[in-house]
Each structure stands twice: as structure tokens, then as C-alpha cells.
Subunit: 681 residues, 3 copies
């Protein structure tokens, strides 16, 4: 696999973060000290201009870019590159005063006042015009600066708008989506129910708080439209920049599994994927491994959006954040763990929000490399500088990539449909948690697992897990059949294949669209358990030792032509099938009819991996493992989240962090890490 | 007692449900299959047109009724009758677009958008005109159809509207109610408090969210007005239908104890009472008996609204529903229990929402006889068909009625007043729960107990329970006195007789309006207990074994001329009277000063029944019992909710379900039922 | 110390309460009975007119004062004085109808409807004009009445208004506050963050619900402005009254620590401080002592606002209230305890809301001396009359004052800043609770402790506790330094000196503004603990026995030149300093870096008291103690909240309640009290 270095002129890993010099323009002493300390911390890049519009253009049409020129020049002269943000993430007060349409209207139909951040209408022509203008000027002035690496479009795009302009665009979007045929929409949305038929697209409104909330199809199309409109806005910014500087890549920073936007649609418009990672370190609900495993899931979904190159960790907190329910400080050594995890998962950058704490306003206590104290002798600064050194040591791994032969399907459309489904229990649907819990079992097995949309290309994979695939996209059923046909191992669960892309229930038996052929079963009923209810699944002698606890959901199956692996042990459906397997072509299709604890399912997963020809790692508890692969070498990352030392055997190669050869055994200290250049095979 | 068959041409029991063929007009195969399966399931009636307006009148003034004609004809030819709904429960999109005044304004003063269901202004002249027009056309077209049994007005009427038209009507209503004298209102509402006097009726507004909420009288009159206005709307629909087809009876479907409307006021306008029953089967808070006892309470309040004829179970779920917090499937056999309970309580129909699940929208997962699978070999279909057969077997009981000599008083006015009372603890008032818990003890004793408003005629009764009768209607006190005077047994409790119909406190001692004479006590203080507080009531030797736990409320009494049956055992009112009895005329008036567990009160209830000449049944735990009475025979119903078999002795007659004679002993299986035609006496 | 009798013509203690005869003008029998019963209960004053506007002026410009004249005359003839309220606390309906601007606009930007109480715009010229007019007429008519003691301005002023007039005034206020320099505001509010710079004061809006909420400086100035504007309204009422009757003192009634207004700013405009006390008696979370200790805290903060004279207990409930979550009746004897506590803390009045329960509306069940029963033979009436007698017995203590040499700093500005700080955990900041818990330890020690703002004069004090002094007013740091310099004992804690008055963080190390010199430490990090986290503080051998539990917060310190008294026992900062002390001038400055239980801190407090030359009392558990001091004698109050008797030694003097001499030992019964005239020293 060829290496892909994201920014050849900067080389290796990027170590940087958001930098807001505009807050300190009256303090040249501090700006000078910033450069000195960045160099000391091994910072080779800073992100500028994220919220600088009111400094670029303090009054409409009056532009000031010189201050930024000085900062970029100074940085560049000191070996620090620039990521330049477009400033559309927050608007100057004059802009909202002059163009009130730029302010969003909320679900209650009330236009916001000026303020906060995520508060712009994505449709507003005036705001798009003003944004294009400032973007154009930035690109013209700084597009050829030798320090410039990347454009960072806006900031953490999110939210939705119910203004008249957006309502109008929504109607147009629907008109296009349903081929200008209102009866097509009526059928897709099943509006005959409750007499909700529309005569024309002009009668349709978004799901206002005091309006229509009972049409599943409307709710889902509104989500899709919001992604479409946000992406359209994103494209409008990218277009201006690319016209002037087509060679400068663009990104925007994503936020884990943010529910409001289907990131995969937006990803198509970006050159590089980047995201912001803020785990709740040391919380009192879970182990550090569990916290970081969720973070690895997020790294992985980002990586899976563009498999041909590394991604970027655009933001993370050097110390703590200020907006968690409980803002505990990161324990010593944990910052290093988190930074190396990013690299292990395929990121080529470690970046922070923020370089220096501001004196006031909302994020004055958000962690930063430099505290209000202002010195370089703090614990946080020292740990940051240590990361700077580590990143230099592992530089050979930059540009390599993580490769997986297994994948988990996770869909925004499916997620929205499940959330909105008027069924089951609203409290225990837990689609995201279910996906993450299963994925985490493969992480513990040391098996790399991509996270894909259900309409992805499955060619590269040998094993697929599709939890709760409630909504089927048009081609998904046939692609899954083809996947198994050619030898793949597939797992589906309860609540699979109930509805089509418009959320119309399949007739003739779930899972629909032909999947009941693939699995050889029909689900006749789904039982929703109360928290105090319990049941079990007992396996046939083939899996003699297994008994799984059932909670939340249990489907009652009719088996057509599948092998029954296990049955329920109690309730009125005692003895009926709970886990089935069907040989289909060269592969196998498993159906797990009830919600069970993924840890109990591990023996089944292990067998499926064996059938797929994949060998799990034998990892100590609390250790995360990944390998980055490149033409010139492969690099194994070991991260020990446990508070005790541990040992791993059968490892050979060289630990880049210590420059020590390994002869079969690796000792990891408590919170210890290793990055092993593996012997060429 | 003469039998009253509700629909002689259909005969016996009605077995039916909501049917929405308009969702399947493009699928004649499905419509045909519906008829076949209805017959197979023993369905003899379907409810049509509940949400069909946009099919009747897809554009304003353009009417399409032929499709309904075909359905009704087909059904009739196959022995299936029609209940025809008026379509005002949901409006076409064009109607709201053309007449925005038809959409409701909420408590925040904001007009709703188009959507949902319960969203029409009851005052809107435009909406009334459009409703009258469509109703008129329906009656003209289908009023003489041989399959038509009943009109079903709108659907689950509910909610309130704060639009300018409703505000204006409210003022007019108050002007009439208070004899056009604003000072009469000022006195009744005690507006001298907080300087809230009104100069004129035009200054009065409903209790808007950001408006006046501190005048109890205003709050109560707004509730009364909403009932009045909803009833006026109901009457406006009935009027049109009766003009054209005076002989077709009308109903509307009630929803258990729905808080927003005083159903007894609406009941006066209806020919038949019907309601929708959706118990939370198999929840994790209570036994199945408890769940069903609540349901029996609801059946009974419906039955008590029109004692001269059977009522209708208009809706129930064949399987599960989709809107409970946890939508667990009904266990085998429980559907039968629920359906026979309806019959046992006096319903002559068992009807479902819905016949067939739609493919999309809000209720796509609401239980139905026919699932998305579409076949007649499902568990739910089989259980439904079984109910169809049972209803045929018990046909002789149709038209008979349940007769009670005891009654419990439950009032909407009193309920609203208690809810709004700024006293006690807002968390533990529990008026409804208190009434239901006491009523349930009589159910366990097998003693039939009607549920009446406090202004009812008590002539037919020998024992009355009046829990928490906080608000006294003008004649209630004197009627209760007369009841006891002539030999009745009466129980009142803490929080009785504090206020008059306007919620003005009685002066001179609670319970007011002369009730302190009847009971021989005055309540000086009422103590509200914290959850961790406890007290007890200990009885005099006459009731040697009794000690009741006190929770939530304890009144401190002064006894004037009553017998003291029991006293508190602790706190500063230790030793003061807690339960008293006064012989008054030929009867007895009991006062229970504190909240206690009804199960502990059973010995007292038993003695009162003895004094009233009523013999309780000796029922095994978990068994519900009722008798339906008719000139031609009496029918005893036994319903065993327990998961174990049980036996009942001293029963003679014939079990209609099995056509087996009983010679003194009846065995009920787990979830077993029996309907015994009793020997003529 | 000279005595200051508040109302010489009434003499001694005032015993009274709110009286609403306008509710009973049609019942002269009741009005007559009121006078008779007031005299029987020892009532010597009643508060009139609090909500009488619609009786004074039933239509605009039509005035009726005769009814009040009759009441005041009758009362005066019977020895009952009048406190006369201005009626602005609630407006007649016609006023809102005619001048809608008088109604407040809420945070959502929606104007309230007429109704409730706290619902007037403080800026409205129309409302100010109408208020001035009615106040003027009242003063002219009743200002020279011989029975008049005091004006009571409005009622429980509170709330805020977002109407256009208030927005305009807010801008003007900011313009003045920031010297007409928008850049000064931009710097103070750190608006460079998120590009939030303002070009002009006209762009600024209050923190609307859908508006700007992320600028800490804006949020704080809005709070300050609301106090300023409310005080301005208060002054506008006082001005009118003082013009006509300059010698009648004025007050307004405060509500414990009401969060919305900085009472200390308003106090400056008042002649006498008064407040409303409604403890949650007998709740299930705490002991009666704890409930009453919180109440003592509130008494003390009121007393500390005007140290040169007694304050007034303007409202309290004779029995129960009706608006607590659980409205339990006060146990026998507890009313006496609460009334004597007020006197012990420095109040010269015991007043009630309300004399007689109204028949209807929001407070019909609020406790009153006279119940709906209407007689004087109730428990509540008897206990009230007993208080009347006690107040006569302790009359010699009237006019004396409570003197303290220790003080606790509690600031509204600091409180608002802490509440709004985006840091720590939003759930556990608990500034008020922390202050109260520490203060309570000194109450248990029998050491009188004033409660002061941080910009107070510290001259009179020897020991200061400044918990969580997060925001430093401009002179506070230097005043604290001066205080310690001259020999004071000072305690500060974690979260001290982070921000200046605009909430800009100090650079160069916390605590800022020079306080790190005073304490000899810098706080490098603050750790927020999860509820399940724990740590401890272990002291050096000097305090061998002490070990404190740490919860919620722990700062990690760098010690510059302080003595380390104690260190953390675990976590990564194990062994680092947790409690320090620095000798500074003649005094000592303690820094306690973590949140700990005040009860564990008592040995440290005791030592500091010793160093300050103050001797704690040796009080039994559950006993509260205060001494009132006057030229003619000192009076010690003992209040036993325990349900068991107790004994106190070394007491000499005369118990005024029993007129018994004490020879060294005082026995207090369960809930017993004593007021001892101490021997002259």
C-alpha cells in the first residue's frame, strides 16, 4: 500500500491546534511568547481565523488582513505552518443587524437573536454572498502563502433552520426528490393515514414544534434535506476557494456521530476528513479502556469515510474541557495515550483546541496548551511537549494506513428511522450503543473493523455485522446476498428489514426485500421487554457452553430453511428459535433474534472469524492494538489503558518510541505505549 | 329487567374494528382478502371513514363517495355491518390552508401548524360549516344503507383552544354563567385577592401560559367552558345527522378518564356510550389483575353514564400498541380475557383499532388483526378468531345489563378542583388513584359498584363511597343527608367539603354545607406527610384486630356528636379521632380522616355491606366476577387473571363457553374464563 | 451600644401581619371580630393595602379611600398600628388593558398577559406615573394618620423584563457603565472570542432565550442592570412618599437569598430592612436545627445590611404554607421557637402572612392566624396568642442589637459569576450551600458571624471567611491584605480570585490581583471530582488527629512562601499541599484548596478563633444561641430545637420568659426557649 503524506511540505505528523491571536493583538509580548513556546512544544502548525470575521471586516466592506499576514509570516519563519479557516462559523454583529435573514429560525418558528455560534441560515442568499466575499478575499490574499497547508471550512457545522427560505427550498427539494409527483410523495409517506394527503408540494411544512410530527417520511426527508442544504452551503464555500487556489485541500471538522447531519454525504465534498475528539476521560460510568474504545469507534468511522489517505484529529483538549457535566483533569500520561491512539487509528495529525486560554467568554476555561498562568512549566505544557517529541519519533509511520477485512454497518438514515419509529420502547432503542458495543468486541479481539454505510461496496470484506438494519436502502438486500453468495460471513439481528427507504413497511414478512430468503426466517412478532423482564438463549450442543442473557427485545421467528443454533428458554415463546444460520452460496448468514450482551457473543464471533480466515490477537485486558500498513513498512501500535503493567508475547521489531529492538516480548507499563516497526515479511 | 339489544339487525354481540380501506384502494387483492379474513375471524361490523375526509373531498367542493359505497356494499353482502364515522377528527391540508382559523391556538397563544389530529378550533365557524357540509353529504348518501348501524362522531375528541374566537366565546359563556353581573364573578372568584378584580367580562382571558393562572375559579370555569364548547361542537355535528337520519344512533369514542373533558356532560348528547381501552398489559408495576381492575373501573364509569342499555368497547388492540412506553406483546389467552371482561362489565361490542396495519406513518406498528405479513395464520389472528367464536356462544347475554346497589362518587369538577388546589402536596393528591383503589376492593369482594357524579340520583343505592369529595355541588350535601336519613351507608374521607362549586372555602368548619352535622365532626387541620413520615390508626375493641397504616394525609378532628371508632397512634395528634361513625336517621355516616390502604379497610367495608344487606362473593385471588341480568336470564362471568388454575364453589347453571352444566363447582384454568347462564330463580 | 427602637410610639416588639379587610367589606361582622381577636392575640400592628389598588381605584381616576380610613381608625382606636403598603405589587385589570406596556416581556421576548403578581415592567413610564399617582394620594390621605408606622413599598419585588423599553435602558446603562466606549466593553467582555465584537451599544441585546448567552460579561451586566432598574423603580416610589411625609420610614420585603436582585444595592435606599421567612419545617432531609440554622443565616444577612438598628420579620406563616412541595403543619411549640429566633437574631418584629385566610384564589390555604373556621379556639390561634405574650415579656430587649467580630463574605456578583462560569461541574458548584454550611459551624460554636459583601468595611472584624471568592471586586484584594496585615485571621478556599469584576481571568496565576502574595500560593489546576471520586487531606503533626474528606473540587497548588499544613493523600497529586497558612503582617492567611465537610474543619476554626481572641460557647447539640446587646443590658437567647431536654451551665441572670433568676444552670425542655437578661458587667 502506497503511503499518502497529507502535507508533504510539513512532512510526517502535524502537531498543532486552534490559535486565536486576534484576542491578544494589544499584547505583542504574548504573541512573541506564543512563538517561542510553540517551538518548545514541538508545534509545527496552527489553525487560524476560525472566529476572526469581525477582525477581518469590523464594518461591512472595510477589510483588515495585515494582522493575520504578520502572524502567518512570523509562524512560517519559525517553522510553523498554517491551517486557515473560513470565518463563517460566527458572524459579526453588524452582519445580523443588516441581514436579519442570516439568523436561523428554530423549530418553534421563532427567529433567533444575534449571538452564539451555530446560528446561520444555510439558505440565506445574503449570508452566502457575504461568506463568498470574505472567503474570496482570504484566498486571494493568503492562498499562495508558503505556510498555508489547508482550508478549514467554517466550524463544526450543525443545526437546522425553519425560516421561510428554508421551507421554500425544502418544498423544491421534495418536488425534485419525488419527480414532481405529489401522489408519489403521498404514497411514500403513507399520507392516507389520518387523512394527511397533500394536494401540492406547497402545502408541505417542515416538522415544526406545533406542527406535523406524525409523518415518518416527512421527518426523515427533513433530516435528509438538512444534510443536503448544509452540504450545499459547504460546497458554496469550497467553490470560491477552489476557483482561486485549486491545489489547497479543504476539510471541515466533524463531531463524532453528530445526529443532525449525515457526514458521509458531506465527506464526498472534502479532500480530507477531520474531526474533534473530546472523550469524557475518567468518568465514573466506565473504564478508561471503554471510554477510549468509543473514541476508537469514532476515529474508525472517520477513517472509513476516505480509506485512501490518513485523516486528521482537528481538535482535542490538552487538559480538560469546560462543557462536560463534570470537567475532571486528564491524569498524567493519558494525553500521550489519546494522541497515540489517534495515530494508531490512522490520523496523521494531533491538534488541539486551543493553544492558549482566552481571558473571558464561553470557553475561558476550556483546556489549552498555555494556561492563564502563561508559563511553560505546567504539567499540561510538559505533557504536550512530550507528545511533540513522540510524533517526531514515529514519523516513519506517517502516510501509512489501517486496513480491515471486516466491517460493521452503521447508517444515519437507519439511525433516524429507528429514532423516529413509533414502536419498541423509546428508552431502549439504543442503536448507536448496540453498534458500538458489538464493534468493541472486535477491538478487544485485535481485529480491525471498518464502519460503513449500508450502501457501501463490500468487495474488500470477508465478514459483515449489520446490527438492527431496520431501514433497507434500495440495493442493500441484494448486495448483502451477493456478499454471502461469494463466501462472506454476515450477521443480522432483531429489527432488520422492516422498512424501505421511505419507511414503508415491507409486506409479506420481515426481514423484507428478499432478506427472509437470505436468512431463511420470518420474524412474526417482536416482544419489548420491561427492564425487570428477562429471558435467555440456550444453544444446541454444537455450542454447548453458551447461554446468552436476553434484554430489551426478542423476536419470535418462523424458520423456513435455516439451521437453528439456539432457542429461548422461557416465556410463551420458550423453545422457539433465537439464533439461526443459513448456508447461502459459499457464505453463511446468521440471524440473532434478540438483544444480548456482546461479550457473551464472542465465541460466535470467533468462529465466524475463523470461517473468514482471520486470526484474532491475544491481547491482555485493557490493551488496544492497531497496525498501520505501508509499502515501506508496517507499524503496530499498543496502548495500555490499564493502571497496571502488562506483557505481550511474540512481538518482534523495533519500538520507535524507545528505539529498542524487541525479541518476542513487549512489556507495557501502566498507561504505557509502544509503536513497533514490524520486520518486513 | 328488559333486554336492550343495541343493533337488532346485527343481533347479539358486535365484533369489529376500525377499517381503513382508503389506504389500499390501489390494491383490490388486499381489499378482497380483507373480506375473506373478516369472515374467518367472525367479524360482523367494521368502522369506516374515521380519517377519510381527504378521500371524500380531495379538493374543496369536489366529492368522491363511490369508493366507500363499494366497500360498504361488499361488506354488507358478506354479512359485515358498518359504523360510519364523521371525518372531523383530522382535516385535509387544503382546509387548513384555506381556513387557518380551523387550526387551534395553544396555551402559549401560538396557532398550531397543520398536522397531527386533535387540532381543530371548536369555535371556528368555517370549520363547523365545512364539517356540517361533509356530514350532511355522508348522511344523505349512506344514511339509508342497509348495512349502517351507527354514526361515530369525530374521533377521541379532546384538547382546548385559546384562539380569539374561543376567548370571545369564553367571555360570553361567563357573562351568561354569572348572570351578566361582573361583581357576582368577582365574588365567586375571590378576585379581591391580589387585586384581581375585573371591571367587565371583556377583561377576562383564559389561563394563558404567560397569563393569569392564580385564580382557581377562572381555571375551573375554563375547564367547564372547554367541555361546554366541545359539547357544542359535538351537538353541531349530531344536529345535521339527526335532521336527515333521525333513527341512526350516534356515539363518540371516549378515552378512559381523559382529564380535559367532563364526559358526563357530553354523554347526555349521545345515544350510546363507547370508549377506547388500551391497558398496559404485563407491565412491571402491578399484577395482571390490577391492570384489568383499572380497566374494569373504566368500563364501569362508561356503563354508569347510561344505565338503561349496554355500552360499546369501540377500540382495543388485538396485539400490542405502539405508543406505550414499553410495547410488550399480549400473552396468549389474555386477548380473550380482555374481550370477555368488556362483555362482563356490560359492553355489547368488542371492537379493535385496527383491522390491518398500514404500511407507514404514526401507527404503522399499532396492533391489528392483520399484520404486515398479511396472512391468517398468525397467533394474533387466531386469537381474534377465537374471540369471534366466543362472542357467538355468549350471544344470549347480549342486551342484558349489570345492576349495582352500591356506588362510588367520582367527579370531573372535583378532580379539577383538587388538581388545582394550592394545598397538600402536589405529588400525592392522587384523587383518581384513591377512588380506583377503593373501588377495586369492592371488585375483589365481587360486589358491583357503579361510578357516579356527586349530583346523581342516589335512589337506587344502599351504600355510597365518596372519597375526597373536596368540592360540593349545590345539592350534594342535602342529597347525601337524605340518602343516609333513609337508611344508606355512607363513607367520606379527609379533604371533604372544603369548597363550594366556585371553590370558595366554606366558613364555619369543614366539611361544609351542613356535612359536619351529618358526620358529627369538624376537621380543624390537615397534615401533609412527607414520604418518610408514618402514622397509624388503631381501632376500639369493637374492631379489635384492625390497625391501619396512614400515609400522605391526616386530618385532625373535633368530634361533635359522632362515635369514635379509631384514633391516631402517634405524633402530636396521638389519641385524637381518626375514624368516626354517626347514626343519622336510619343510616350511618362514616368519616375516615386519613389516607390508608384500601386493603386494610376491607373489614369495615364488609360490615357496611352487611348493614346494607349485600352479600359479598367469596372469590379466589386474581378472579374478577360480574353478573349481567335480563328478563330471560342472568349470566355470571368469571375471569381468572392468575397464572394458575383455581376453583369456585356453589355455582350452578350452564357454562356457555363450553356448553357444560355446572353442579356446584367451577374450575378455571390459568387465564381461564367462564360465562354461566344461572338457573332461573 | 445605644438602643434603637424602630417605632417608639408602638414601643417594644411589633406583633402583626398582613391584613386584607378589602376581602370582607361585605361582612362587617367579620371585620369587627378581627379587631376583637387581634387584641386577644396580642397583635399591635397590621399591614394594610398590599394588594388593594383595585379597591382604591376601581376605574382609572376614580378613587375610594374611605374604607381604608375606617379600618385604620378602628384599629388605632383599639391599639393596633398600621404599616401601609403601596399597591404596586399587583395591578388592576384596567391598568394593563389601558397601558399594555406595564406588562413584562419574558426571556422569550413574549409580553405577558395580565395576571399573577410580579408582572410589571420596571421601566414603563406609564406604570411609574400611575404608581406615583396612587402613592401620592395614599401619602396625602394617610401620611399623618396617628396609627401609621411605616411604608411598605410594593411587595416581594423580583423578576426581570425584556421589553423594548428595558432593552433601551440596558443599552443606556452600558453606555454609561463603559464610559461611552464600545471598545472598553469589547475588552471587558472579551468579545474577540467567537467574533462577538460590537460596533455600537445599539447592537447589544439582553440574553434572550434564543439569543446571546455565551458572553459572561453580558450575562452579569444584565443581572446588575436588573438590580439597578428595580432599585430605580423602588426609588421612584420612595421619592413620592418622602416628598409628602419625609418622617415615615420605608421598607420593602426581601425574600431570603433571592437570586435575581442584589439586595445590598436596594438596601441603601431603605430606612429599615425587612424580609419574609418561610422555612420548610419538619422536612425529611434535615433536622429541625439545620432548617432553623439556614433561617438564622437569612436573618443574619438581613441584619448585616443595616447594622445600626434592628430589622423586621415582615412575613412568616402562623401555621403552614400552601406552596411548599409538602405542606406539613408546624408542630406545637415550633411557632414560638421560630418567633423567638427572629428576635434572637436582631429582629424587632414578628409579623405574619396572613391574619385571616381568604375564601378563594391562590393563597386560600396559606397559613393564617384565623382559619376558615373563624374562631379563636384553634391550636394555631392559641400558639399565636402565646407569642404575643412572650413578646411583651422580652420587651426590654427591643432596640438592642447583635454584635459580631467575625464575618463571612457572601456576594451576589460572585454568586452570579460562579453560577454562570463554564467550568467545574454545573451540578456541584453549590456556592450558597458552601457558605451556609461553613457559617453554620460558627453558629454551633455560639460565635456570632455577620454576612458581608466583599467590598465591605472589615474594620470591626477579627476573623473573615471568604469561601469560593471567585470574582474579585476592584478593592477586595487590597482590603483583605490590609485586614490580615493589621492582625486579622482570614480563610480563603479553592476557586478564589480567578476573575475580575468583568469576569476576565487574571493572568499570571490564581488567586489573582495580588492574592497569591497574600496566601503564598498559586493554584495550577482545579480538579472536578465525580460523585464517586474521593480523596483526603492529611495534616502535619501539629494537627495530628485531623483528616478531612475531599469531595467535588481539589486544586493543585504551587507553594511559594506559605506554611504547608496538610497534603492530599491520594491520586496523582498525592502529597501535594492542600491547606496552607501564611503569616502576613500581624495576621494569618489560610488557603484551603479543596472542598471538605465544614464539621471536620471545626478544630481549625477553633484555633483561628483563639488566635483572634474569641471564645466559643459550649452548646449542647441542637441549641442555637445569640446575645442582643444594649446600653441598658444584654440579653442571651437560647433555643432548643432538639426533641429532648438539655442543660446549659454557667449561666447567670434572669429568664424573662419565666421571670426566674438563674444561678448557673439553665434547663431547656424539648423545643424549650429562654431569654436571659444577663448581669451587668
Amino acid at each position: 500500500m502506497e503511503k499518502t503524506i497529507l502535507f508533504p511540505k510539513a512532512g510526517g505528523f502535524i502537531h498543532g491546534g486552534d490559535y486565536n491571536p486576534e484576542q491578544w493583538l494589544d499584547r505583542p509580548d504574548i504573541l512573541k511568547e506564543d512563538i517561542r513556546m510553540m517551538k518548545k512544544a514541538g508545534i509545527n502548525c496552527a489553525t487560524l481565523g476560525v472566529f476572526s470575521w469581525s477582525f477581518y471586516e469590523p464594518k461591512e466592506g472595510e477589510y483588515h488582513f495585515d494582522w493575520l499576514q504578520h502572524i502567518m509570516d512570523d509562524m512560517y519563519e519559525n517553522g510553523i505552518y498554517t491551517i486557515l479557516a473560513t470565518p463563517s462559523g460566527a458572524r459579526p454583529a453588524w452582519l445580523d443587524a443588516t441581514y436579519p435573514e442570516a439568523m436561523r429560525v428554530n423549530r418553534q418558528g421563532v427567529r433567533n437573536h444575534h449571538g452564539l455560534r451555530h446560528n446561520h441560515c444555510m439558505s440565506s442568499p445574503a449570508f452566502r454572498r457575504k461568506t463568498a466575499e470574505i472567503d474570496r478575499r482570504l484566498a486571494e490574499r493568503f492562498g499562495s502563502h508558503p505556510g498555508l497547508l489547508l482550508y478549514h471550512i467554517s466550524n463544526e457545522l450543525g443545526g437546522e433552520c425553519y425560516c421561510p427560505l428554508c421551507v421554500q427550498r425544502f418544498r423544491q427539494y421534495l418536488d425534485d426528490t419525488f419527480d414532481h409527483d405529489i401522489e408519489k410523495l403521498n404514497h411514500a409517506w403513507w399520507t392516507a393515514f389520518w387523512s394527511h394527503r397533500y394536494d401540492s408540494f406547497d402545502q408541505i411544512e417542515p416538522p415544526f414544534a406545533d406542527g406535523e410530527g406524525s409523518i415518518m417520511g416527512l421527518n426523515l426527508e427533513w433530516k435528509r434535506f438538512t444534510t443536503w442544504n448544509m452540504t450545499d452551503f459547504l460546497k458554496s464555500e469550497i467553490r470560491v476557494l477552489k476557483e482561486i487556489t485549486p491545489d489547497i485541500p479543504v476539510t471541515t471538522n466533524f463531531m463524532t456521530l453528530y445526529n443532525g447531519l449525515d457526514y458521509r454525504k458531506m465527506a464526498k465534498e472534502l479532500d480530507i476528513i477531520s474531526w474533534d475528539s473530546y472523550p469524557k476521560f475518567h468518568n465514573d460510568e466506565e473504564t478508561l479502556f471503554d471510554t477510549m474504545a468509543d473514541n476508537a469507534f469514532h476515529h474508525t468511522i472517520m477513517r472509513s469515510m476516505k480509506k485512501d489517505k490518513p485523516f486528521m484529529l482537528m481538535e482535542s483538549a490538552p487538559g480538560l474541557v469546560n462543557w462536560h457535566p463534570c470537567n475532571k483533569v486528564k491524569r498524567p500520561g493519558v494525553h500521550k495515550l489519546a494522541c497515540l491512539q489517534a495515530a494508531a487509528c490512522g490520523s496523521d495529525t494531533v491538534q488541539y483546541f486551543q493553544w492558549r486560554k482566552g481571558r473571558g467568554s464561553f470557553e475561558q476555561y476550556h483546556g489549552a496548551v498555555v494556561d492563564h498562568l502563561g508559563t511553560d512549566d505546567t504539567r499540561i505544557f510538559r505533557e504536550t511537549a512530550q507528545v511533540g517529541e513522540l510524533l517526531k519519533k514515529i514519523a516513519p509511520a506517517a502516510g501509512t494506513r489501517v486496513k480491515a477485512r471486516t466491517a460493521l454497518l452503521f447508517d444515519w438514515d437507519n439511525r433516524w428511522a429507528i429514532q423516529d419509529a413509533k414502536a419498541l420502547s423509546q428508552q431502549t432503542k439504543a442503536y448507536e450503543e448496540t453498534c458500538m458495543a458489538i464493534w468493541k468486541e472486535f477491538l478487544k479481539l485485535g481485529v480491525e473493523m471498518d464502519i460503513l454505510p449500508s450502501d457501501a461496496d463490500f468487495t474488500d470484506y470477508d465478514l459483515l455485522i449489520a446490527p438492527m438494519l431496520y431501514l433497507l436502502q434500495p440495493q442493500t438486500a441484494s448486495c448483502l446476498k451477493a456478499f454471502v453468495q461469494r463466501g462472506g460471513q454476515l450477521v443480522a439481528t432483531y429489527f432488520t428489514g422492516y422498512v424501505d427507504k421511505d419507511q414503508l413497511c415491507y409486506l409479506g414478512g420481515f426481514p423484507g426485500d428478499g432478506l427472509s430468503d437470505l436468512f431463511g426466517i420470518i420474524s412474526e412478532e417482536i416482544d419489548t421487554l420491561y427492564p425487570s423482564d428477562s429471558n435467555k438463549i440456550r444453544f444446541t450442543p454444537e455450542y454447548a457452553s453458551m447461554e446468552w442473557q436476553v434484554k430489551d427485545y426478542a423476536e419470535i421467528l418462523r424458520v423456513r430453511d435455516a439451521e437453528i443454533l439456539a432457542a429461548y428458554t422461557s416465556d410463551f415463546y420458550q423453545g422457539t428459535p433465537a439464533v439461526t444460520r443459513k448456508q447461502y452460496g459459499k457464505g453463511k448468514a446468521y440471524y440473532i433474534a434478540a438483544r444480548t450482551a456482546p461479550a457473551q457473543m464472542r465465541p460466535l464471533f470467533t468462529q465466524m472469524l475463523t470461517d473468514a480466515g482471520i486470526t484474532p490477537q491475544n491481547l491482555p485486558e485493557g490493551v488496544e492494538y492497531h497496525t498501520r500498513t505501508g509499502e515501506e513498512g508496517n507499524y503496530a501500535f499498543y496502548l495500555n489503558y490499564a493502571p497496571t503493567p502488562t506483557q505481550i508475547e511474540n512481538i518482534y521489531g523495533t519500538d520507535l518510541l524507545t528505539d529498542t529492538p524487541l525479541n518476542g516480548s513487549l512489556t507495557l507499563e501502566a498507561h504505557g505505549t509502544a509503536v513497533i516497526r514490524l520486520p518486513q515479511q
